[in-house]
């Protein structure tokens, strides 16, 4: 029987108490953790053994910290959408509500990235068939052809501008179910079945500031 993975999609959200930063007087926004974000999880394999999903993006609102479905996926209400290794922003050719979303990757630890520099030139928007964040292996994840494991590259911070011009930083910490990298001794198929359950944490700055 085909596992009904999509029917069972759940996300769990955990708020992590944040530190107060008294220097700038602003309360730092909370760090949110999302696990088991099902981004086109595997439902079968091609004849060559390539894992295949249903081919659909899963849409997410950083502001609301929730999955967006239905007609709202054709609005400004979503900020990022993920399918396999493809990440859309709500801007450029992917914009569904005339928004101006954009993103880029910064080399930093999550905590050390505290502000988008003024005049940052790295911003990219989706420009079909290109994405703001390239889905090529080695950019923000690696796929190992010996172990068949996909792993997020450590030290990559996704800096995101939402459709309505708010800023967020995000770090993908795992591509596997419950955030646990499968044992390397498991078969490629067993590994693939646990794949594309994203675990990520993010900070959404609702006040329009570039500081996190």
């Amino acid at each position: 029987m085909r596992p009904m993975i999509f029917a069972l999609v759940t996300i769990s959200v955990m708020g992590i108490a944040c530190e107060k930063d008294n220097n700038d007087g602003d309360a730092k926004p909370e760090v949110k953790l999302v696990t088991n974000f099902a981004a086109d999880t595997v439902i079968g394999f091609s004849a060559t053994g390539r894992p295949v999903g249903a081919g659909k993006f899963t849409y997410f609102s950083l502001r609301e910290n929730k999955i967006i479905t239905g007609a709202d996926t054709l609005s400004n209400k979503w900020d990022i959408a993920i399918k396999e290794f493809y990440i859309k922003v709500n801007g450029g050719t992917s914009a569904t509500g005339g928004g101006n979303g954009a993103a880029f990757l910064a080399n930093s630890t999550f905590d050390a990235y505290t502000a988008v520099p003024a005049g940052e030139t790295a911003w990219q928007q989706d420009n079909a068939p290109n994405y703001a964040i390239s889905p090529a292996p080695g950019n923000w994840y690696t796929y190992n052809f010996s172990t068949f494991l996909a792993l997020p590259v450590p030290g990559k911070v996704f800096v995101i501008r939402t459709a309505d011009g708010r800023y967020a930083k995000m770090e993908i910490t795992s591509l596997y179910k419950d955030g646990i990298t499968p044992d390397v001794a498991l078969s490629p198929a067993q590994k693939a079945l646990k794949q594309f359950f994203y675990q990520f944490r993010f900070v959404f700055q609702a006040n329009g500031s570039v500081n996190f």
Partner: protein, 740 residues
């Protein structure tokens, strides 16, 4: 071709063979040789002569590059039967099933030899000076090669493309087959754990001007299954047959013809568990068949004392076929057929020049052909080459060698490979040597010609560098076959050979009659390493790959050996290699503060320090061996105990940065302990027994090919024509000193 696993089979075996140096180079006959032997080879046994380092016969002690010999005696004392088994016991040689070039290339392509930390892809494997083809994933599976009928194995470390061209990037292993001087027959059998059976016969006939050895070997190894919960084996059971013929005919004092032929056929029974389109696990099984044949003919002629020439013609073919069926309903699951041919014609001329110079000049043409179901069409490539080497030896204790080779071909950039080596012996006891050598490895057929789009199932596409360009990609994009073109695609270019520059400096010292030792320091600079990378994405999201000259790395370290003759019959020897390696781009990124790691316990990201980086995967910092050998020709006993140590090594990345920086990305070190003993029961009969992996070290994940503790028994029977048979060892020694 179908290979049957017969119960009774015979194999040729080296035991009791009287050895004679099998010459592939010039300097063979007549006065040149006589003079040569007096100055260079007479003082030692012929087994101390090395041909691989200079393509001419040289005494090992006069060689200016790191080299060693595994003698027939050594092979006999260990009672090992396959090339991978004996190589893994040598200092600084690591026999690995992984290619070790990073995340790509797993452990499925058999056993290759890593030397001085250089990948098995960069080791050239020769039989009687001619290359073995049939690399799978870049690696020649050394278990294809029997130790039966072998006179010795010569190993030269460091790049030697100045003489051998492509693949001689990290070193050369040259197997020299035996051709005894007396008529004799040997029948041999070894049986042991894991259904090991090695059996054979070999026969030598010596007529007036002709000597011929014909031999047959059967080898069988049962499955190694270290994880019973999982369907399938770590190593599938296999069995193979090797037939070898070695013929020498002396036309005159000055002219000799040598012909060597070999045929090999292997079958292994495969069984795997693979998920089908509905994620149901399916059991598939079938057979892999490998065959290869070689014919090597050389004609040697001495014009006079100072000029000799050798013509060589070599042809070899390799075929690998795999057919897998679904085990439940016998429907076809996978089929693969790979055929490769290699032909070479070559001349080498050696000239003694005035002022103590010896010149070696040669050239030839190689034609390679490939046919496979993995991609359409047939491919071929031609390589023309020339080489020149001069040795200047003004005095007995000094020589200077310079060499150069040019390889020109149709499919990739041409290559010039220089070499420089110097030796100085201030005293009888001390030898100092230093050398520089360049090496290269040509892009292989898959890197050049692979053209594989899987339209039917929406899979990935993989193109050889000669099959794709940015313009072709743009054309495919217009046809809707390619979506996004990645920036990497603009780097597509003609592939260059992978290259190495090797530096070696060392010394050997004989303390006294009991103690001797050697040390060698090495540095290898490797550039233009070929890896594949994503160049574009298909509209359905799958990836398009091609090959690039991207990686740069280094391997450096020190190797030491110490020998101690405890007693007339006892010898203790130890070897050690320290190795440090790294990807140069990774080292630079760490230095620039651009590499991060993820903590194993907390998952927190941290900036990497240089000390966090373990270096290239599949390399151990420390490797060592300790061997105790016993040999007594009066009571007919010989025995050996060998311990092989390897320290922790990097396996695969676990935190996404693509490099080895955490302990859980490494495999634990281990010791393999092997012992063997033999007794001469009668002049013609030898009995043996032994135990391998006495400590029973097992690691299903990292050492899938290493079986647990196992024992064996062996028997060897020699029949010699003519006079009564003395102890085999005595006659070996006697004949060796009578070479020429």
């Amino acid at each position: 071709m179908r290979v049957h696993g017969g119960i009774f089979a015979f194999e040729m075996n080296t035991k009791g063979f009287i050895s004679h140096l099998f010459l592939l180079t010039a300097f063979v006959f007549g006065h040149t040789v006589t003079a040569f032997c007096q100055t260079d080879t007479l003082s030692g046994e012929s087994q101390d002569v090395v041909v691989t380092a200079t393509r001419t016969e040289r005494k090992l002690s006069n060689i200016a590059v790191p080299a060693f010999i595994i003698s027939q005696k050594n092979i006999q004392a260990t009672q090992l039967r396959r090339l991978n088994e004996i190589l893994q016991e040598q200092t600084g040689v690591f026999v690995t099933s992984g290619s070790g070039t990073g995340g790509f290339g797993g452990g499925i392509f058999g056993n290759g030899a890593q030397m001085q930390g250089m990948s098995p892809e960069y080791t050239l494997i020769l039989i009687n000076g001619e290359p073995i083809i049939g690399r799978q994933g870049g690696v020649v599976n050394l278990s294809r090669l029997t130790l039966s009928g072998i006179k010795k194995i010569e190993v030269v470390k460091g790049p030697v493309s100045s003489l051998y061209g492509s693949e001689a990037m990290g070193g050369v292993i040259n197997i020299i087959t035996a051709l005894p001087h007396t008529t004799q027959t040997n029948v041999n059998l070894k049986a042991g754990g894991y259904s090991l059976l090695d059996a054979g016969v070999n026969s030598t006939i010596v007529a007036n001007k002709t000597r011929a050895t014909l031999s047959y070997n059967y080898f069988k190894q049962g499955a190694i299954d270290q994880n019973k919960e999982q369907f399938g084996n770590q190593q599938d059971p296999f069995y193979n047959h090797t037939v070898q013929a070695n013929i020498s005919h002396q036309f005159s004092q000055r002219t000799r013809l040598l012909v060597y032929g070999r045929f090999f056929a292997e079958a292994s029974d495969n069984a795997y568990e693979i998920a089908d389109n509905n994620l149901q696990m399916q059991r598939v099984g079938g057979q892999t068949q490998i065959s290869d044949a070689n014919v090597n003919t050389s004609l040697q002629h001495n014009f006079n004392q100072n000029i000799s020439t050798t013509f060589r013609a070599y042809g070899t073919g390799y075929r690998s076929q795999q057919k897998l069926n679904n085990l439940k309903d016998a429907t076809p699951f996978y089929e693969d057929d790979f055929r490769q041919q290699f032909y070479r014609f070559e001349n080498q001329t050696d000239i003694n020049l005035p002022a103590s110079n010896k010149l070696t000049a040669g050239g030839g043409y190689v034609y390679e052909h490939l046919q496979t179901t993995r991609y359409e069409g047939e491919r071929s490539n031609g390589i023309a080459y020339a080489f020149l080497q001069n040795e200047w030896k003004p005095t007995e204790n000094f020589n200077l060698i310079g060499g150069l080779r040019y390889d020109h071909n149709q499919a990739y950039a041409s290559r010039l490979s220089p070499k420089l080596a110097v030796r100085y012996s201030p005293s009888e006891k001390l030898k100092l040597m230093a050398s520089y050598g360049a090496g290269f490895k040509a892009p292989d057929f898959r890197q050049l010609y692979l053209n594989f789009i899987n339209n039917a199932s929406g899979g990935y596409a993989l193109f050889g560098a000669n099959e794709i360009s940015i313009d072709k990609l743009k054309a495919l994009q217009q046809q809707g076959l390619v979506g996004e073109i990645l920036p990497r695609a603009y780097d597509l270019a003609q592939l260059n050979p992978e290259t190495s520059n090797g530096f070696n400096a060392g010394a050997t010292y004989t303390f006294n009659e009991k103690w001797s030792g050697d040390i060698n320091l090495f540095y290898n600079d490797i550039a233009n390493q070929i890896l594949f990378d994503v160049i574009a994405l298909r509209p359905n999201g799958s990836q398009v790959f091609s090959y690039f000259n991207v990686a740069r790395s280094y391997t450096t370290g020190a190797e030491m050996n110490l020998r101690y003759r405890l007693h007339t019959n006892w010898t203790l020897s130890g070897g050690y290699q320290f190795l440090s390696t790294g990807d140069k781009d990774v080292v630079a990124k760490i230095k620039d503060g651009e590499m991060y790691g993820r903590d194993e316990a907390t998952g927190e990201v941290y900036l990497l320090k240089r000390s966090d980086y373990y270096g290239l995967p599949n390399r151990s910092n420390h490797m060592a061996n300790l061997k105790l050998m016993y040999e007594n020709s009066t009571n007919g006993w010989n025995a050996s105990v060998r311990a092989i140590y390897r320290s922790r090594w990097g396996t695969f990345d676990q935190d996404g940065n693509g490099i080895i920086n955490r302990k859980d990305e490494t495999a634990p070190g281990f010791v393999l302990l092997n012992a063997a003993m033999q007794k001469q029961i009668s002049p013609s009969l030898m009995l043996g027994a032994g135990v391998e992996n006495i400590l029973n070290h097992r690691d299903a994940l990292n050492l899938p090919n290493v079986p647990g503790i196992n024992a064996f028994l062996s028997i060897s029977w020699n029949i010699k024509a003519g006079k009564a048979n003395l102890a085999a060892k005595n006659s070996v020694n006697k004949t060796q000193s009578n070479t020429f």
